[in-house]
């Protein structure tokens, strides 16, 4: 996904003089050709994340469309107050593009894990959040996002589904188990493990790459009584959205995602998926337990 992002943004910088990029050393080598061609609009501030967002706010105040890119914990967590004040409070937008996700590089340890990024962005105003599930989804998403003015967060990952499924961000039904069936909503790269998990279960599966704004109309149209969220970041990040959307209906929600605990373990991304119960087997266990009285043939 990072390679797709670098290629598309390099093209956008050449096409649109309104586009700018702010870096804090991360990926600077990848953007060196763009920086050479557009030295005034490709700005590497060094390892200075507060300044990175402050500069983006200033660029936006002059009418440019800044893209800001770094590793997720440095982009969102370290510079959170700058995002809140230098962008939101000034009434200007930027496109934040992160890599690293929840545990793309677990060998680096806790400092490089960012499961809380989407929840943090969700504390702000009207941000759009995109969590693509495949590298081929990135170019169109980036292009459409940069073309606007609104604040947006693109969360890139090394975890991907087998094939791309781009759309406008509304819930896309991937597997239809019929009216009233439990609804599983998988976000971004967790679609494939979610599909594998419920292969033998009567569960409708919908997918989105856009958890914010969440497609609440689609949710209301598809949801019966049981809703299962499968999110590749902090578990429960979208629970409040589902609760509000279904407030007028009796319903149950199972919110699956990355746990809050610092596991203090290294290993691989696959290990962390397993430890957080986000591999197919773990998801199957959680979903089966959640549906236990209802998923049996005697229903």
């Amino acid at each position: 996904m990072r390679a797709a992002f670098v290629a598309e943004l390099t093209a956008l910088l050449a096409e649109d003089p309104r586009t700018a990029l702010v870096l804090a050393d991360i990926s600077a080598d990848s953007f060196a050709p763009a920086a050479h061609r557009h030295p005034d609009r490709v700005l590497n501030v060094g390892i200075r994340e507060q300044l990175m967002i402050g500069v983006a706010g200033g660029l936006a105040l002059t009418g440019l469309r800044p893209v800001v890119h770094s590793y997720a914990p440095f982009l969102v967590e370290r510079a959170y107050e700058q995002i809140k004040l230098d962008l939101d409070h000034q009434g200007v937008g930027a496109v934040l593009v992160s890599i690293g996700a929840s545990y793309d590089r677990p060998e680096a340890g806790r400092t490089h894990l960012s499961p809380a990024d989407v929840a943090l962005i969700d504390t702000l105003g009207d941000w759009t959040v995109h969590v693509p599930g495949h590298p081929d989804e990135v170019p169109a998403l980036l292009r459409a996002t940069v073309a606007g003015d609104a604040p947006a967060y693109l969360r890139l990952s090394i975890l991907t589904n087998d094939r791309p499924r781009g759309n406008d961000g509304s819930l896309q039904v991937v597997r239809d188990a019929g009216p009233g069936a439990p609804l599983l909503v998988a976000v971004g790269p967790l679609l494939d493990p979610a599909l594998a998990a419920v292969e033998q279960l009567p569960v409708t599966v919908a997918w989105t790459h856009r958890p914010r704004p969440f497609d609440t109309a689609g949710l209301r149209a598809l949801a019966g009584t049981e809703v299962i969220l499968v999110e590749p970041y902090l578990a429960g990040t979208s629970s409040r959205v589902v609760a509000a959307a279904l407030a007028d209906r009796p319903h149950r929600v199972l919110a699956l995602g990355v746990g809050r605990e610092d596991l203090r373990r290294y290993g691989t991304a696959g290990d962390h998926s397993r430890w957080h119960g986000l591999d197919a087997a773990g998801l199957r266990r959680s979903v089966t337990a959640f549906l236990a009285p209802w998923a049996t043939p005697s229903r």
Binding site: A20, L43, V45, V55, G58, T62, G63, L85, H89
Partner: protein, 249 residues
């Protein structure tokens, strides 16, 4: 008085202090009645008074901005980073016609546009919303870069900070980067009333000049010295004006 690469002190705020009237009695004439109007009998701290001279010199003699050009891309930008210095700021904005004087009568009320910290979306002429310290200089660097990237080479960007505000590390990210990249459209103004808890051994200007800035240290109440310092510029180097004021009113 010329810009220098090292700290340069012209005059002293202490000189003649025994004979001079207190700062509150020496507010610039066009601002004084408006300042009294927003003060409304409140006992404001010395730091509120200490900023008024710099603000007045900027708006009266330096900044290329008027109420008619608040949205002109080619205008100079003034960013108040130490957002608590609002009473003098609002008084100057009223004195220069950016906001109606009546707005000064109910600051921070439920219906007022004038808060205890300024909001750029509520007050004409205010370039940034501030309050939390250490945000203005980064925004100023970005603003200067954005203007340069669009070929707008005339506007200057002024950012007003306090000496205690420099405690925030974010400022030092901006100081280092602006110096390294020779951002010569940027001028920082540091009001130095000696309020930084641990001080700045070696002087405030040295923090900037070590990173390639030019610097002038002047009496923060001397309008001519401020004007000269604020209009200094050197190609490929950002500039800082350290305006020294008394901690006492």
């Amino acid at each position: 008085m010329t810009a220098s690469t090292g700290p340069l002190t012209v005059g002293s705020p202490e000189t003649g202090a025994a004979d001079a009237p207190p700062a509150r009695a020496r507010l610039p004439e066009p601002v004084a009645p408006l300042f009294e109007r927003i003060r409304a009998g409140r006992d404001l701290g010395a730091n509120t008074y200490s900023t008024v001279d710099v603000l007045w010199v900027l708006y009266d003699r330096v900044l290329r901005i008027t109420p008619a050009t608040v949205d002109d891309p080619d205008r100079d930008r003034f960013l108040l980073s130490k957002g608590h210095a609002v009473d003098g700021y609002y008084a100057v904005l009223a004195a220069t016609g950016f906001v109606p004087a009546e707005w000064l009568d109910d600051p921070t009320s439920a219906t007022s546009r004038l808060g205890g910290h300024p909001d750029r979306t509520l007050v004409p002429g205010v370039e940034i919303g501030s309050g939390s310290l250490g945000h203005g200089l980064g925004l100023g660097v970005g603003t200067a870069l954005g203007l340069r990237a669009q070929g707008l080479l005339t506007p200057r960007v002024y950012v007003l900070l306090g000496d205690a505000e420099l405690d925030e590390g974010s400022n030092h990210e901006a100081i280092a980067y602006a110096g390294a990249t020779g951002l010569d459209s940027l001028t920082a103004v540091v009001i130095d009333n000696g309020s930084a808890t641990h001080g700045w051994p070696g002087g405030i200007a040295a923090r900037f000049t070590a990173n390639g800035w030019t610097a002038a240290t002047v009496d923060g109440h001397d309008h001519d010295a401020l004007h000269t310092a604020l209009t200094e510029r050197t190609a490929h180097r950002p500039h800082v004006v350290v305006a020294v004021v008394s901690k006492e009113v």
